[in-house]
Amino acid sequence: MNLFQKLGKKAIPASFAAWVGGMILFEGLMPPGMMSQERDRTLGEIHGKIGISGRDELTEEIMHRRMMKRYDLGESPSNSMVPAYRLSEEAVVYIESAGDSVTYEPPETHPTLNQRDLLFRPLVLPVLVGTTVDFPNNDKVFHNVFSYSQPKEFDLGRYPQGRSKSVTFDRPGVVSVYCEIHQYMYATILVLENPYFTVPDDDGIFILRDVPPGTYQLSLWFGRKKVSTKSVTVRANEVSAVNFSY
């Protein structure tokens, strides 16, 4: 009995057949020591899973303040169903330092920090130093994005829906981003010295590819702060496994 018969379907005669293309994606982690696909054999990978058991207090605080806005001039206090942040929007895994002498070219594409539903999305945005970030306004009301953080002070002023402004982050560090009008709006831009960072999927699985061999400090940023750092050794053409729990 073939597959079609098992499923109760009729087999299609060959004369009516057509090409069927596609891809099968297997989710999950590769066993340590097994590279995910053909890559530079001089580099390694870090695979892992993030387990978050503690309360996401920052997300709760932001969502709560958003709802409790009290002097609503022109903005309804209505609690429209706005989804809370997903794990992929509030967690970042990154290597602290990958060597002092190496400089990396920032990407030409601009990552975005969206203003949508009176929130910043994502909550945490990792970028390589020198990267330009776009700040599009997708809300019907004004926002006024600003930061007083040392790596980059800026104030984008007020601009309407459909418009975007950009900022280049040329010094590494943590940049706290706020909206001058909606004081609960908050996001972090992690300006990193190397490109070895990634965000997990919503199940917490992350893969950090093309990492040069060496021993590193691998950190997890969650919400408002760095919550864990672990030492990891990467070997050429191998996968190293690191799991985080918080």
Binding site: R65, L73, G74, G157
Partner: protein, 395 residues
């Protein structure tokens, strides 16, 4: 106040899992104030250089997705604790997004909003129309025109109450680009029922407020508000009053205000203009009527405020406001008996405020404010300009 705190403390216990979140935020501010020392109501602490402080505590309890309790507590350097705001708020009570507040509510009049608090107010005082104490007393209806050379005469009602809170109920919401609100309150906008010694509803009648606003484009909101109701309290019916044996509710206040908010880029403009009438004119034959005005008292007021963010941390602001009162020519009830008086019933006043703000951090703001006050119709304009250095911390 203490009942409110007890209530908030017990909420998590009594409501159990329903009461998931109580959030406390606030603002603390300390200021150095030096005013001139003329004979004026705008003089601060007799013109002595003075430090002062203020603390605003905002405690909100979210009972469910649509039900919450909002409170403001204001504590001043005189150690008086004011519970300004204690509203039960229900949102989305109909399919078209109607919201409601009941209790000690935020009055839907004008566009002051968060600018009533130090962190969002680039100046030290509120707009002139919220500050100036007129010479019209709501408690016993006597005009202080006996000593017209002094601007300090006013200790009567304001055009608009400072805090813009009162006991009552309000329905409000948005419909597309429109925003609407109606409210029913114990007091009137120039004499709210909050701090009266005559009972919760000292003037018997109810204040009625309606507000409509439209936002035709992002950054521009145009609103109009109207309020009417009795402003004199029952004390004005005492035997010593010109309104003895009369119903104070027959002498209402009517006030209409237009307001505009505009902002774009680093610039913001807030403007409001109000025309106010305290209806006092004799309307019939009253047996007990003694000396009393034969005409109404009116006032026109405006305030225009502009702000500009010069750098991410530095902003500058200026505000101009004026109060213009109508002239009367009549026998006027005063504390020493009726006198014949001709002229404006209060001094026309102009105020110009400038401020520069520097954000030490997102939570800390340092402000320098200078306020010019000009009072007209007096032999000599009293010296009552004001200089303030204020720091505000928000949390």
């Amino acid at each position: 106040m203490k009942y409110a705190l007890v209530f908030l403390c017990f909420l998590p216990v009594t409501a159990g899992s329903l009461c998931a979140q109580i959030e406390v935020t606030g603002q603390g501010s300390a200021a150095y104030v030096k005013s001139e020392s003329g004979f004026s109501q705008y003089v601060f602490d007799n013109g002595r250089p003075t430090f002062t402080w203020r603390f605003d505590l905002f405690a909100d309890a979210r009972i469910s997705d649509n039900f919450s309790i909002l409170t403001n507590t204001r504590i001043l350097q005189d150690e008086v604790i004011h519970l300004d705001y204690f509203a039960l708020r229900m949102t989305d009570i109909t399919s078209f997004g109607l919201n409601a507040q009941a209790g000690l509510i935020d009055l839907p009049f004008g566009n002051l909003g968060d600018r009533r608090f130090p962190a969002d107010n680039p100046f030290f005082n509120l707009p002139l129309m919220n500050e100036h104490l007129t010479s019209l007393c709501a408690s016993d209806y006597k005009l202080w025109v006996l000593v017209p050379q002094f601007a300090i005469q006013g200790d009567g009602v304001r055009l608009l109450d400072q805090g813009l809170y009162d006991l009552g109920v309000k329905l409000y919401g948005t419909a597309g680009i429109f925003e609407y609100a109606v409210a029913l309150t114990n007091g009137m906008i120039s004499e709210t029922g909050v701090y009266s010694a005559q009972g919760l509803n000292a003037n018997r009648g109810m204040g009625k407020i309606i507000r409509l606003a439209v936002t035709p484009m992002t950054g521009l909101t145009i609103g109009v508000s109207y309020a009417t109701g009795a402003f004199m309290d029952d004390q004005s019916n005492d035997s010593g009053s010109a309104f003895y044996k009369e119903d104070p509710t027959e002498y209402p206040q009517h006030i209409v205000m237009g307001d505009v908010d505009f902002s774009y880029g680093y610039f913001a403009l807030y403007a409001q203009a109000a025309y106010n009438r305290w209806q006092l004119g004799r309307t019939g034959d009253y047996e007990s009527a003694r000396w009393r005005l034969n005409e109404d008292l009116t006032a026109f007021a405006y305030s225009v405020e502009a702000r500009y963010a010069v750098t991410p941390r530095i902003s500058i602001a200026a505000r101009a406001g004026e109060l213009l009162f109508n002239s009367i020519s009549d026998f006027v009830p005063t504390f020493s008996g009726p006198v014949y008086y001709t002229g404006t019933w209060d001094h026309n006043t102009f105020r110009l405020e400038t401020g520069i703000g520097y954000h030490l951090s997102r939570e800390a703001l340092l402000k320098l404010v200078y306020e010019w006050n000009r009072t007209y119709g007096m032999p000599v304009d009293p010296e009552d300009d004001l200089f303030v250095i204020q720091t505000v911390f928000s949390f």
